[in-house]
């Protein structure tokens, strides 16, 4: 007995007729058919017989493109820039208020920059409503398809920006049609915001880490190199037609370092002033600059080399190093002046 799906079965109670248990037998037959049919798997989910069970860890159903689980942040594969501009739209609309954004500022001017320095989503309280993805004007937040998120503790479900970043290519792979719809607009808006982003602000967190490491390397190399030989070989990277984001950033840093080298007459006291932006990178840069300045000022100033060699892992250490370097530079300058 095949019951077409989606139809309402109206049972005929057969009032007035003598009922002697035929209905019970009919019911048993239906169940028997299901039992007998359940020994083969129901593959297309269109019949009413067969086992429907998907044995989950072993086999998984393909998820539809519009499936949504948890929000993630997209960044551009090519430039490494995040699509997010820190516009707070998602933070405002989020019903359980689990999105927390810190707007980026230009370290030099102190102005707002269309990027987010920190972006936190508390996955443990997120309810997967998808409002953030819908409201995002830059198509930066998208809903991920990953659903195996369980952890042993609550804290590890608080996702920071580095954990939320996904390349666009990933999103295009899980939801190609959805991405194709918005791709043109999103990329155009991204180009616009990239123009307004100084330095490395707005780069994906995974890249900034690498850039940081690379910069330190370069800075150390530059510091170790003799001052006279500095200008030309400081930038080892050739000006190629197409640079990877890392190389680009590295080049930038190297250029800055050489600029500092060139500025012989630059007053060493400038270094602490530049520390005002509470940014690690800026501080580090300042440190490097100060060190270089110190080297320029006094040839016989060995302590100045120390801070450059320190591996400044975090902002505080960097700041400390910068201050030390500045002090050392000042001392060296005084010595030089007195001599």
């Amino acid at each position: 007995m095949d019951i077409p799906r989606g139809n309402i079965i109206v049972m005929d109670r057969r009032r007035g007729k003598l009922r002697v248990g035929q209905g019970l037998i009919q019911g048993l037959k239906v169940v028997w058919d299901h039992w007998a049919g359940s020994f083969h798997k129901n593959e297309n989910f269109s019949q009413i017989h067969g086992t429907f069970t998907v044995e989950y860890p072993d086999e998984r159903l393909p998820l539809p493109q519009t499936y949504r689980n948890m929000p993630v942040l997209l960044y551009d594969d090519e430039s490494g820039h995040e699509l997010c501009t820190g516009c707070y739209q998602c933070q405002r609309i989020c019903p359980p208020q689990v999105i927390h954004i810190t707007q980026a500022k230009d370290p030099v001017t102190g102005k707002m920059v269309p990027a987010a320095t920190e972006f936190i989503i508390e996955y443990d309280a997120c309810m997967s409503c998808g409002f953030c993805a819908e409201v995002c004007p830059f198509d930066s937040i998208k809903m991920d398809h990953v659903y195996e998120l369980s952890t042993a503790d609550r804290v590890s479900l608080t996702m920071r920006k580095a954990q939320l970043n996904r390349p666009i290519s990933y999103y295009a792979s899980i939801a190609p049609d959805l991405w194709a719809e918005v791709q043109a607009g999103a990329m155009k808006k991204l180009q616009g915001s990239i123009k307004r982003r100084p330095d490395v602000i707005g780069l994906a967190a995974v890249l900034t880490e690498k850039i940081k490491a690379r910069r330190l390397e370069l800075a150390a190399a530059a510091a170790a190199a003799p001052a006279a030989a500095a200008p030309a070989p400081a930038a080892p990277a050739a000006p190629a037609a197409k640079l990877t984001p890392e190389e680009k950033a590295a080049k930038l840093a190297a250029m800055k370092a050489t600029n500092a080298n060139k500025g012989v007459a630059a007053p060493p006291a400038k270094a602490p002033v530049e520390l005002s932006p509470a940014d690690a990178k800026a501080a580090k840069l300042a440190a490097i600059k100060a060190a270089n300045a110190a080297k320029q000022a006094g040839a016989a100033a060995p302590p100045a080399e120390v801070p450059a060699e320190l591996p400044p892992t975090d902002a505080k250490a960097a700041k400390l190093a910068a201050i030390k370097a500045a002090n050392a530079a000042k001392k060296a300058a005084e010595q030089g002046n007195s001599e």
Binding site: L18, H34, S38
Partner: protein, 443 residues
């Protein structure tokens, strides 16, 4: 068992222990075996039920713990053992504590008269059948204790329902068995099994029938009707789904088990599944010949028995194994039927349950008892008992006449009662409507 113990102790070791010590040891060994078997039956049946019902619902069921999920019951057991035992503050602590034991103990007692194979019965009581049902009615007391001691409304309602149901459905169960007791002429379960040799016709009724172990009561009209009535009553007594009113999850949480947790809850669960196993077993024993089946009788005739001391012990083992296989396969088939019914039917309301039991099942089984009397008269009585017209009929003819007459009686009774019952239900609905009308008029 006692012969074996006697053989080992007094002949092999030559200790010359008294007979009561031998008997005690024999009974102890049997008891230990049964106490080991009962929980394993429960473990197996839980898995069996879950897998079977899953298939009926187009699912797979538990299949992750071990191959095909065979260790799932053990995992459940470990879980239940590690749970905290919570007793409500307002509970009557002693009664609350004793109730699970009172529920479990009778189910263990019932194993005493259950035959597993030829010559494999713990105690062959001459009132075995009555013992079985007398003991099974004791667990009702335990249920009532559990429900009352929990001092919980749901528990009390569940216990009341359970007891009302058990007491009501014991009557049709016992009366339907009474018909077969009339035919067999004995209350001993072993006698009932040995009556069922033959081939569709019992060799006791017609001596010329070959003994293939297939002369089951189910092939007679009396036995069939008794089987249907008994199985329905067994469903009600085992609180299986169409009658699982006492623990209707959607209405009264878990009935009398609501305030139980941990191993006490596990004991209720154990009692329930062991009772289900026993009911299936007694169904298979009484209506489907128990261990009777092709080959068992022949094998047992070659074995060492009090009748035939010169047999070979190999035949003992073979007959035992084959008998137990037949018995267990029948039993598990009936458990499958229980699961099948669970998958198919919805739960009854308590008044429907009572109506069905008292107004349909009991009259039906009473008619069946009269049919059984007719059957006995037509197949066994002679001129000496005042039944002169059967003289000269061959046993087969007498059997056939008895078959037709009892079939007509039972079928007629069934159809008539179904009609009456349907009318009474309609009348009931009409009365309900009247009450509704009167309510409207008041308002």
């Amino acid at each position: 068992m006692q012969d074996v113990v006697n053989q080992v102790i007094n002949t092999t070791f030559g200790w010359n222990w008294p007979s009561w010590a031998i008997a005690l040891i024999g009974y102890l060994i049997v008891a230990v075996i049964l106490f080991a078997i009962a929980p394993f039956q429960m473990l197996f049946l839980t898995l069996y039920e879950r897998r079977a019902i899953a298939r009926m619902q187009d699912r797979v069921g538990p299949n992750r713990v071990g191959p095909e999920g065979i260790f799932q019951p053990l995992a459940d057991g470990v879980k239940i053992f590690t749970k905290e035992d919570i007793v409500p503050d307002a509970a009557d602590h002693w009664v609350h504590f004793i109730a699970p034991c009172v529920v479990v103990a009778p189910t263990m007692f019932m194993f005493v008269v259950l035959p597993w194979g030829p010559g494999m019965v713990p105690v062959d009581l001459n009132i075995g059948l009555l013992f079985f049902f007398a003991i099974s009615s004791v667990s009702a007391v335990g249920l009532l204790m559990a429900g009352w001691a929990s001092s919980n409304k749901f528990a009390l309602i569940g216990a009341m329902r359970a007891v009302a149901q058990m007491v009501s459905y014991e009557i049709p169960a016992v009366i339907s068995l009474l018909a077969l007791v009339l035919i067999t002429g004995s209350l001993s379960i072993v006698d009932m099994i040995s009556y069922q040799g033959g081939l569709f016709i019992s060799s006791r009724d017609v001596a010329s029938v070959p003994d293939w172990g297939l002369g089951w009561f189910i092939f007679t009209p009396v036995g069939f009707l008794a089987f249907v009535a008994f199985f329905i009553a067994a469903l009600a007594e085992g609180e299986r789904t169409p009658f699982d009113i006492p623990e209707a999850d959607s209405e009264i949480v878990a009935g009398y088990m609501t305030e139980y947790s941990g191993m006490k809850f596990g004991l209720f669960y154990l009692a329930q599944y062991v009772l289900n196993f026993l009911l299936c077993a007694i169904t298979s024993v009484i209506f489907f010949g128990g261990w009777q089946g092709p080959g068992v009788g022949w094998l047992y005739a070659q074995a060492i028995t009090p009748v035939n001391p010169q047999g070979g012990w190999v035949f003992n083992v073979l007959a035992g194994v084959l008998g137990v296989v037949y018995f267990l396969s029948k039993t598990y088939f009936f458990f499958f039927v229980m699961v099948w019914i669970r998958g198919a039917f919805a739960r009854l309301r308590i008044d429907q349950l009572m109506d069905f039991g008292w107004k349909f099942l009991i009259p039906l089984t009473l008619v069946n008892v009269i049919s059984a009397a007719v059957w006995v008269a037509l197949t066994k009585w002679g001129a000496a008992d005042g039944l002169a017209f059967v003289e000269g009929w061959s046993p087969l003819v007498r059997w056939a006449v008895a078959f037709v007459v009892t079939l007509a009686m039972n079928l007629g009774a069934y159809l008539y009662l179904a009609r009456i019952f349907a009318h009474s239900q309609a009348e009931r609905e009409r009365l309900d409507d009247e009450v509704l009308e009167s309510l409207i008029n008041v308002v």
